[in-house]
């Protein structure tokens, strides 16, 4: 029986060898894990979606858990992919009886291999020669099952890395063709999904698809009132029209029945479908003036406001809010149409269905994106007419909320809130006044008294040039506009002078000049002498 010491000694002797072997392996695992994590993160934010469960629900493979893959699993899948492709190859070559069944069987096996995990063995499949086979399987007249399985394989291949998506180019015209009204619904939907992934890859592929005529058949798939096909088509369309070229957006709104379908879905559809349609309106309102005009004419903004007021789904709220924002940020004609004069202004300010109420709700949300984009929209409202500014100013809920956010929220939210507050304090240059800006003293005095100045001074200290400029500009209004020469005292009290002095060493010349100009003008030699 060995003593403890001996044991300890023995194991101590053994350990170095063990740990060095373990060390290399664990380091490799860690590196692999980091790479997988990075890839995972990228795949999660990519605009492409894997299809892992069939729309019919049956024949669903139990997907492996989503834990990070280890080397061994990966190579097993690669081998399976290669094997499945080989099987498909021979099935396609086979001319005898039951050939068709064999092809479908082989396709199904390949599809399963490509749907099992988050990172399908796409490269292995392509290297084994999957693409020409899959294109072959999309031939006209093929049985639905074959088309479905082939399209499913292509969907998941397209969900991978850019070069993998690009591999689908030979298959595109066929996929588009199978969107036709004679195709069975699941087949059309699966093809739409694959095309959506291709469109999500980038502008180049989008243009290819558009030139091949994808828009019309895909748009038609959106016309029915419900079904998963409608939702998939809407999603694919949103990827197709996202630009930056506005042509696709403009062509989409011209499709017969589309405008009606969009408004119908925004009004009545379930939240999942409404979400995809809302993304379509995001791009329409951002890119196409024609679409914007048509949407406003159909009172889409009312629908947006209503949904925004009643929904609680973050997924839906984001595109609704952004669509509204795009409309408000548009030309003044559009904006005046949204603010129906009379109704909005004389009505109760805190009505939850009007724009201020809706934006207040979003500002109160816990989600940073909603707060930021709501503040952006509000800042554009505040950049409007004096009546619009008063709408905001008079709202009991909004002002305290803005002040609170200015001092406590995340940076990007604070910046937008700063725009809002500043816009409330000054009226835009009008042609009559020979381009002069006039301070709205009531608003400025009130907001400063409520303590907004420290928030702006904080922005002056930020590393972000735009934010620093905002802070300095607001400070200038305070210094110039506060009555009884109170401005400089207030600024000093909040350490504004020190904040401005930082700019002596700042690399941005404009900011340096602005800061120095203010210090020289308001805190020069005479400061403090007239006390």
């Amino acid at each position: 029986m060995s003593t403890m010491a001996e044991d300890g000694f023995a194991s101590h002797k053994r350990d170095p060898v063990k740990s060095s072997v373990g060390g290399v392996a664990s380091q490799k695992r860690r590196q692999h894990a980091v790479a997988v994590r990075k890839e995972r993160r990228e795949s999660l934010v990519r605009a492409k979606r894997l299809c892992r469960v069939g729309s019919s629900g049956d024949d669903a493979d139990t997907p492996l858990n989503n834990a990070m893959m280890v080397d061994e699993e990966e190579s097993v899948l690669d081998a399976q992919a290669a094997a499945a492709v080989e099987e498909l190859k021979s099935a396609v070559a086979n001319q005898g009886k039951g050939a068709m069944q064999k092809v479908v069987g082989a396709l199904r096996e390949l599809r399963r291999v490509l749907s099992r995990t988050e990172f399908p063995p796409i490269e292995a499949a392509l290297e084994a020669g999957a693409m020409p086979l899959l294109v072959h399987c999309l031939a006209f007249g093929s049985p639905d099952e074959q088309l479905l399985e082939a399209a499913w394989c292509l969907t998941n291949i397209a969900a991978g890395k850019p070069e993998e998506t690009k591999a689908l180019v030979p298959a595109l015209p066929l996929l588009i063709a199978h969107l036709g009204e004679k195709s069975s619904s699941p087949v059309a939907e699966q093809c739409a999904w694959a095309l959506g992934n291709v469109a999500g890859e980038g502008e180049e592929l989008r243009n290819v698809l558009l030139s091949q005529g994808v828009l019309l058949p895909l748009a038609r798939m959106m016309l029915p009132s419900k079904g998963s096909t409608v939702r998939t088509a809407a999603w694919a369309l949103s990827n197709l029209i996202k630009g930056p070229d506005p042509k696709a957006a403009t062509n989409l709104i011209r499709v017969d029945g589309i405008l009606d379908a969009i408004t119908r879905h925004l009004r009545k559809a379930d939240e999942e479908l409404a979400t995809e349609v809302a993304w379509i309106t995001v791009y329409l309102s951002a890119l196409s003036n024609l679409a914007t005009a048509m949407l406003v004419k159909s009172n889409v903004h009312e629908l947006l406001l209503h949904r925004l007021a009643t929904s609680t789904s973050l997924q839906l709220l984001i595109p609704l809010l952004r669509s509204l924002g795009n409309l408000v940020a548009g030309d003044s004609q559009t904006t005046s149409a949204i603010f129906m004069p009379g109704q909005e202004i004389t009505g109760k300010c805190d009505n939850k269905y009007n724009i201020i109420g809706v934006l207040t709700k979003c500002l109160k949300s816990e989600h940073r994106v909603l707060k930021k984009e709501a503040a952006w929209v509000l800042s554009n409202v505040a950049a409007g007419s004096v009546e619009h500014k008063q709408l905001i100013y008079k709202s009991e809920a909004v002002i305290p909320l803005l002040l609170h956010l200015l001092s406590t929220a995340a940076f990007d939210v604070r910046k937008e809130v700063a725009y809002t507050i500043g816009n409330l304090c000054v009226a835009a240059a009008s042609e009559q006044d020979s381009g002069r800006l006039s301070l709205i003293l009531d608003h400025l005095v009130f907001l400063v008294e409520k303590g907004c100045l420290p928030g702006f001074i904080d922005l002056i200290r930020s590393a972000d040039t735009e934010a620093a400029k905002l802070g300095l500009q607001f400070m200038e209004m305070v210094l110039r506009g506060m009555p009884n020469g109170e401005g400089p005292k207030l600024v000093e009290r909040e350490d504004g002078i020190e904040a401005m002095e930082r700019f002596q060493f700042h690399e941005n010349e404009d900011l340096r000049n602005m800061a120095n100009g203010l210090v020289d003008r308001y805190f020069g030699e005479d400061y403090g002498l007239d006390r």
Partner: protein, 270 residues
């Protein structure tokens, strides 16, 4: 991007670009919308992949850390910032060297030490009075020294293209010292009989600055440390471990808001 039109308001004759409220529009692919776009994809896949809340937060943190292209804006720094929220930390640790006497803050230790010599050192002033060139050129590596503040200023403008309006060491602390400096001053006035020390700034035409030098226990250690000062050294001894008064910004904002009312300031007499 926001477009702030240059103000043509005759009142703002200095050319200051006043706040002009304009609507801001962004293209769909603008970085402005990036976080919302990412949220869209994460949410869509959340259901399919059972992403837990914790995992989503982790992902957000990873994405936030990808703060590319954000650099410190202080001239010559070039440090990459990990986030805007961290800028304050970076600034205070790297760029804020605070004078322990007057609490004025400088972006480099070198400038701080020059300031201390010129503003708080009676030996410095004695040498100046005897005609020695004591005023160093502010540009590191130049090495030239001048007999007066003004001649150094001229040198900066002529040889180093500094703007004429630039006055690095215009001692604004004299006219409106920081809150902390004022509070300290009040305290000192009550604690000991003060002895006014005149700072030589006549050439500038500014009113002279009065600084309490004696009655300050640390002055002796300060002056002995000063005689050992050389350009470029890190005078960590000078700051005496006192924190930058702006350290207050580290306080969580909600707390900061509460202790905001400062006592009535008392600007020093001219």
């Amino acid at each position: 991007m926001a477009m702030m039109v240059l103000d043509v308001d005759p009142k703002a004759d200095s050319g200051f670009p006043c706040w002009n409220p304009v609507r801001r529009r962004f293209a769909p692919e603008s970085p402005f919308f990036e976080s919302g776009n990412i949220e869209r994809e994460l949410l869509a896949k959340q259901i399919a992949l059972d992403l837990g809340e914790e995992e989503k937060h982790q992902l957000w943190r990873l994405l936030d850390d990808d703060c590319k292209d954000l650099f410190c804006p202080i001239v010559g720094c070039r440090a990459r910032l990990t986030s805007l929220e961290n800028f304050e930390n970076h600034y205070n640790s790297q760029h804020a060297a605070a004078c322990s006497v007057c609490y004025k803050v400088y972006p480099t230790s070198r400038l701080l030490s020059i300031h201390i010599s010129e503003a708080h050192d009676s030996f410095f002033q004695a040498k100046v009075a005897r005609g020695y060139p004591m005023y160093e050129c502010l540009v590191e590596g130049c090495g030239l020294k001048f007999k007066s503040y003004k001649s150094r200023q001229r040198h900066l403008v002529d040889k180093h293209n500094f703007p004429t309006s630039y006055d690095f060491f215009k001692n604004k602390a004299a006219h409106h010292p920081s809150k902390k400096a004022r509070e300290k001053k009040i305290h000192r006035k009550q604690a000991a009989t003060t002895h006014k020390h005149e700072e030589d700034e006549e050439e500038e035409g500014t009113t002279s600055q009065k600084m309490d030098v004696e009655g300050e226990a640390s002055v002796d250690s300060l002056t002995s440390a000063l005689s050992n000062l050389t350009t470029g050294s890190t005078p960590s001894s000078v700051s005496f471990g006192r924190r930058n008064p702006r350290g207050l910004t580290f306080v969580p904002r909600s707390v900061h808001q509460r202790n905001n009312k400062k006592p009535e300031d008392s600007t020093p007499p001219p």
